[in-house]
Symmetry: C2
């Protein structure tokens, strides 16, 4: 389509609405506005028009303003408390200092559409040139109560520092990431992003959910909002709540059941390992015979572990490393004296063990030496001495509940 | 200096070594090689030469190769098992497909310098143009045992996805970040980075440590390696271990003491809150009188909390939200029925509380609604019902042990 045809035939343009589903209510909580153009024969997407760098930004602003007017008018008519997600690229926002958008929103605020219901989606990686000006514009929008979503987070150019500076309300994650990466890669990225989101108080929105597995992944990784063809197609006049294709509440019930079974199995491992050690505890003869004690432990964790050691409450390793090489446990005496207090949560975890006299199992992480995915099981031998048993990857792999 | 003067007077060029200190041994574990040029009057840094985009890459390669030859010769002579950190920019590495560097290292491997002792530092953000080729070159280097460090992580252009793909052994963080950001910003970035590092099995190295506070921050955020003028200046012929200006072991002992005091104070809060609730527990009359129970709890947490609610073991909120507005606790009944099971660790934490019948205190995080920094204290009322007490920012702020 010729962009000029589009911009001079605004009467042929109408918004479609794609539902956004809330993980809290399991129902539609808002709609993303997308554009459609009637060619005389059929309705086509305006995506190519908006993504074409050769189309003047002023054209895009004009079409987007037209779509927004209709969407806001629909919102006033529908009388519902849903959110409206709208997209603007960086260059568009810079046209006329982003005042057109704000003027329209102020006008409709007087008709009852509160600014807090507007979510402005921007793509972080097209900020490259004018990050500071855009950052300030978004801050200005925020003062009106407009919410900010950063689109396409986790893709090539998203970075921690910028996301933190923007402090968006929502991080929007393209579920296609799952397909682009292998399982591990996706997990690592999602873990870092969800921790960042938690720190800055941003919600995660997963878009492009196309099947039941992807909805599960979105739920599992802390997604507060879901969007995609699997849940609902974009539709004209979406403001009257269109029924979802999927019973999200029912799906989530299933996920919860599955998750609880997995956690329960994991807890059973912790309790059984703790039990083994409780029985071995009479053999603990204090820090002077520390290697001998580990030696006694090894055969009870032969299958699970590849490395064990004991630290005191200052984080200092007071034993050798016991390492499994093939079927033998080998002593690495030079590791004695290593200090592990700098590791995140190390001291805190020891003091928890001491206070509640119970074992702990770490999250999944990658060992710096072997670079394998492992967990660490730890157990208080006394108020001052703690046993660390590193669980090998193969054992985690054989027991799904330990791997996730 | 004219670059041509430098490259045609290699005999005036010598390496200096800046010690890298290990958090595990509290001693020097390696040296970063930097270049110095003798002008006839004084020794000047070659930093400007290497950072000048107008200097041909071939010149830089030649100077770097010369420095490396001397450094490796020094290493052979010193007979020590330290690491050697060397810097290369992306363009330099692409000259002659990075073969010059590899040839030199192979030559010195035969003289006893194992490839595992070489750490190649690259800057991720100058990868922009040729990420894929560089990624492959680094993979190739890794097969020889060479370790990869990514420099300047956390700065403007570092991004999660790329760092994950490169899977470096070390993430090098410029401690200047602390000064560029406010305290919160630095904490958020470091938290995300240290979690990413943990997932991919990378160690954190903090460089440019200039004072005692920065060393503490580096230790506190999981730094495994430290570098900077505060610890040691770069020096000629550094391979014989130069004494550190600071007794790192003694410093870390101090940090450990401080940290243990803080954790202990935090644990005391948990225990005292748990105690209050144990005493209130007889008033718990099951899910039908859930709001009445919270009402009874509010006055015992008037100072600490701004929001409370109760969930069942499926993550469903079965009470109203109790919210403190000024000095009044207000009920938000519409929150009943909200499902929180999607939140990371939510189900897992509930099952932990159920299994060990004990309270839990969350990490510090930002509330999505108020965007304030908070913690959540949670307590098992029964096997099926869990009370959540959100601790307000002002209370955390007044008690340092809760804020960090």
């Amino acid at each position: 389509m010729d962009p000029l045809d589009i911009v001079s035939n605004l009467h042929n343009i109408k918004p479609v609405y794609q539902p956004v589903v809330s993980a809290i209510t399991h129902d539609v909580t808002g709609y993303e506005v997308l554009g459609r153009y009637y060619t005389g024969k059929e309705w086509i997407s305006l995506g190519p028009f908006f993504h074409d760098d050769d189309v003047p930004e002023e054209f895009k602003v004009e079409v987007d303003q037209h779509l927004l007017e209709i969407a806001l008018t629909d919102m006033v008519a529908s009388n519902q408390e849903t959110y409206l997600f709208i997209n603007r690229n960086a260059k568009q926002l810079m046209v006329n200092d982003g005042q057109d958008l704000l003027d329209t929103l102020i006008r409709f605020e007087q008709k009852g559409v509160s600014m807090g219901r507007i979510i402005l989606e921007v793509t972080e990686h097209d900020f490259d040139e004018a990050f500071d000006s855009l950052h300030h514009l978004l801050l200005y929008y925020k003062t009106y109560g407009i919410q900010i979503a950063v689109d396409n987070v986790g893709a090539k150019s998203s970075n921690i520092d910028r996301i933190r500076q923007l402090k968006p309300h929502i991080l929007k994650i393209d579920t296609k990431l799952i397909r682009r990466h292998n399982e591990d890669g996706f997990q690592d990225i999602m873990y870092s992003l969800s921790m960042l989101a938690r720190r800055i108080g941003a919600a995660l929105l997963f878009e492009n959910i196309e099947d039941s597995y992807q909805l599960y992944v979105a739920w599992k990784h802390g997604g507060r909002f879901y969007q995609g063809y699997y849940l609902a197609q974009p539709a004209f006049k979406g403001t009257p709540q269109s029924p979802l294709q999927v019973d999200v509440a029912e799906r989530v019930e299933g996920y919860v059941r599955r998750e609880k079974v997995l956690v329960e199995k994991r807890l059973r491992f912790i309790l059984s390992w703790e039990d083994k050690l409780k029985k071995l505890l009479p053999q603990w003869q204090g820090p002077k015979k520390v290697d001998a004690f580990i030696h006694a432990v090894t055969r009870y964790f032969n299958e699970e572990s590849f490395r064990m050691y004991i630290c005191n409450s200052d984080g200092q390793q007071i034993s050798s490393n016991f390492r499994k090489r093939k079927d033998e446990w080998v002593l690495e005496e030079n590791k004695r004296g290593s200090n592990w207090s700098f590791r995140p949560y190390f001291l805190e975890n020891m003091m928890h063990m001491k206070t509640w006299k119970k074992a702990m199992l770490s999250d999944v992480y990658s060992d710096i030496d072997t670079r394998e995915t492992i967990r660490t099981f730890s157990y208080p031998l006394s108020d001052q001495h703690f046993l660390f048993i590193d669980i090998r990857y193969a054992f985690l792999y054989e027991n799904e509940c330990l791997l996730i």
